[in-house]
């Protein structure tokens, strides 16, 4: 590690990156550069989350006869790009991906 500040985005995923350093570091959407909150908070807190029952989200192939399984879609509040998906049972916590530095 060098002492100089990283000048480029540090990706958490292809769709989400950390920009800036120290206390000023923010999550951004890599598609539009839109803000997704400070580096010390999960970026999903600042995304739009849609939680749709799987059979409604995906059509017949995803219709398993169950109603308690959901597809969560996390979208950029600026450009509406779909940043991440999760399958989940109701009430299960969001998955958290984070980058150290």
């Amino acid at each position: 590690m060098t002492g100089t500040a990283p000048t480029t985005d540090r990706h958490i995923s292809p769709a989400v990156a950390l920009r800036g350093t120290g206390a000023a570091a923010r999550h951004v959407c890599t598609a539009c550069g839109g803000d997704l909150g400070p580096a010390d908070r999960p970026w999903k807190d600042h995304a739009r989350c849609r939680e749709i029952a799987l059979h409604l989200a995906g059509g017949p192939a995803y219709d398993t006869g169950e109603r308690e399984v959901f597809l969560r879609q996390f979208c950029c509040p600026g450009c509406a790009t779909l940043l991440d998906t999760e399958t989940a049972m109701a009430g299960d916590p969001w998955l958290t991906d984070r980058r150290a530095g």
Binding site: D45, R48, A61, V69, T85, D97
Partner: protein, 607 residues
């Protein structure tokens, strides 16, 4: 050491493993070993550490290392030249009882210098259900014979009493006998070739080369890890069995040149046999790690050293005796495979340099269906539906997943021809093909899974029975990456024919929908396939990559034309409208995609 000699010894070690695999397949001659490539051969150092892992079911590489170590502990001071030991107790090292390890010490001039180990999925192990997977087992005691270590061969002579006792406990003693003989032959080849290697180059040189090989893998793997970003990534898998659901939760943290896989948060062990022991979990996470992170590094102990696993005791990924585990390899272990594939994929995808090595989850959910019964020639047939090895590829940063393209933990596999199955079982396929909308949507689509339907045909008993250890019918398990969707889940449907027809169906061009009668979902237990009934199976597609509304509209139109994506899904998920000729309708697509984006923004930010 001299790089030339080292290169020669390294190459020879690879070939020794290859030759042993060939021997195993030759002598065994069974379909699961030869077609499914459900096997593993590897070499270990004198202390049991992994020296050279071959291509096979990769979750065995570390477990067999533990098997060597367990034998060393148990038989210390009594390990002779020409001995072969058997181990299949999951609470000692094995994955489940039917995957038997045979491990052989290799001596040169009286000194123990190395070990070889191999496994095959034996035809039967005497569990409550035939074939090894025992959905009806309440505990390990019902899952057949299991040994924490036993001497099968002493000084080159087979221990007849031991062998006969084992064969006395299984359903197909002749087949199991052949399975065991194939493993002995395999270990013999590995031992002979290793001894020749030691004799040619000297014990000191070969030992030094082995140590260097492990060090080199460690250095290379650590160097790769340092090139990857530090951070932590999560995955969650749901296993649904008989109305219950269990979670496998994984947080993978990468710091500098170390990786920690932490399963804290996973559910307590299940009453059903999908559990796995800690050795199985460890193998489960290494199975995707080897090909995803170490595709150009020799698979050995050096790769294992930088990795730590945390698995809470009493959980589904580290169950305690006597929890049943016979379905582990297609249960919790496979979920560990998937979760590790996702977290590793997320880490790779976060790296500009390694993004093209990331992949969404492949074939996430085996459907272990063993058919058994009297066949059309009057004999008795038992065997797995090999379509479970057909799999589906996960999407990548640069391409769609491979349709029905296999799986990561077992790089070499294939399914049998329809004609092969129809020749040996009294069944007839109505169709077998790629399953529409099964591939996880994304900018790059997950590879499609498949679907098929079977009816009894010329069966002397009117049909057959099957053991099914299915899960993944309620939850998609092949996670997507970077906004890609998961692949569609599995489905197993028993179609009860309506009263009063004549003969089983012959065609069903529209798939499951064309099959008349009551459709009953089944997933766990023993069921009949008789009369005019049908069994429908659909297996999961791979996970997708990236936002589906950014997929090239022409690619979506091509998928629709090829029958891989329905027009409904094209419009609803991909936002692609088609024109009269089946091509993408540009203005309609633009409108629909704008509407999808608007829908996404309708709700408030969630917190």
């Amino acid at each position: 050491m001299d790089p030339m000699t080292f290169s020669i010894i390294r190459h020879r070690l690879f070939r020794i493993v290859d030759e042993a695999v060939i021997t195993l397949k030759h002598v065994s001659g069974s379909a699961i070993t030869n077609e499914g490539h459900d096997l593993m051969v590897s070499l270990y150092r004198a202390d049991g550490s992994l020296l050279m892992g071959g291509v096979g079911f990769l979750h065995h590489l570390t477990s067999a290392a533990e098997a060597c170590k367990a034998i060393i502990r148990r038989f210390d001071g009594d390990i002779g030249e020409g001995d072969v030991f058997l181990l299949n107790d999951p609470y000692t090292a094995a994955l489940h009882t039917s995957d038997i390890y045979l491990v052989s010490p290799i001596h040169v001039e009286g000194r123990l210098v190395a070990w070889s180990a191999c496994f095959v999925h034996v035809t039967d192990i005497g569990a409550v259900n035939p074939g090894g997977f025992a959905p009806q087992a309440p505990d390990i005691f019902s899952e057949g014979f299991s040994s924490p270590g036993l001497r099968l061969v002493r000084g080159g002579e087979i221990c007849r009493d031991v062998l006969d006792t084992i064969l006395n406990m299984v359903r197909s003693p002749e087949m199991v006998s052949l399975d065991l003989r194939s493993m002995i032959a395999c270990n013999n080849v590995a031992r002979d070739r290793m001894q020749a290697l030691f004799r040619k180059y000297g014990a000191q040189t070969v030992d030094a080369a082995c140590a260097t090989l492990i060090e080199q893998s460690e250095q290379l793997f650590r160097a790769r890890l340092r090139e990857l970003p530090d951070g932590s990534w999560q995955s969650r898998q749901y296993l649904d069995v008989n109305g219950t659901t269990a979670r496998v939760v994984l947080t993978m943290t990468k710091t500098d040149d170390r990786l920690v896989f932490d399963f804290t948060g996973s559910d307590p062990q299940s009453a059903f046999s999908i559990n796995c022991t800690k050795w199985a979990s460890l193998g489960g996470l290494f199975a995707p790690l080897f090909p995803l992170l170490c595709y150009d590094i020799t698979w050995n102990e050096g790769v294992i050293r930088p990795v730590t696993m945390i698995a809470p005791e009493g959980s589904i990924v580290n169950c305690t005796r006597p929890a049943p585990v016979s379905v582990a390899t297609v249960g919790a272990i496979q979920s560990v495979n998937n979760a590790a594939c996702t977290t590793i994929g997320k880490m790779l995808a976060a790296s500009d340099r390694y993004r093209d090595e990331a992949t969404a989850v492949w074939h996430a959910n085996h459907f272990a269906i063993f058919k058994f019964g009297r066949n059309q020639r009057g004999g008795y047939s038992i065997g797995i539906l090999t379509e479970t090895f057909a799999g589906a590829g996960g999407a990548r940063s640069f391409a769609d997943g491979v349709e029905i393209g296999g799986e990561i933990p077992n790089p070499i596999s294939r399914m049998a021809n329809v004609e092969t199955v129809e020749a040996s079982f009294p069944v007839r396929y109505l169709f077998r093909r790629r399953a529409i909308d099964s591939g996880g949507p994304g900018q790059y689509r997950g590879g499609t899974g498949g679907e098929m339907a079977l009816v009894p045909h010329k069966a002397p008993d009117g049909g057959i029975d099957y053991v099914i250890s299915g899960k993944g019918t309620r939850h998609p398990m092949s996670e997507g990456l970077a906004g890609g969707w998961p692949g569609a889940p599995n489905a197993y449907v028993w179609v009860h024919a309506p009263e009063g027809g004549d003969g089983a169906p012959v065609v069903a061009s529209d798939g499951l929908a064309a099959l008349e009668g009551d459709h009953q979902r089944v997933s766990w237990g023993v069921y009949p396939l008789r009369g005019r009934d049908a069994l429908y199976v659909r297996w999961n597609g791979g996970g997708g990559w990236g936002d589906p509304v950014t997929r090239d509209p022409q690619a979506v139109a091509d998928d629709v034309a090829a029958g891989l994506v329905s027009p409904g899904a094209a419009l609803a998920i991909y936002g692609v409208a088609l024109d009269g000729a089946g091509g993408p309708d540009a203005p309609g697509t633009e409108r629909r995609r704008a509407a999808i984006r608007a829908e996404r923004l309708e709700q408030e930010a969630a917190q």
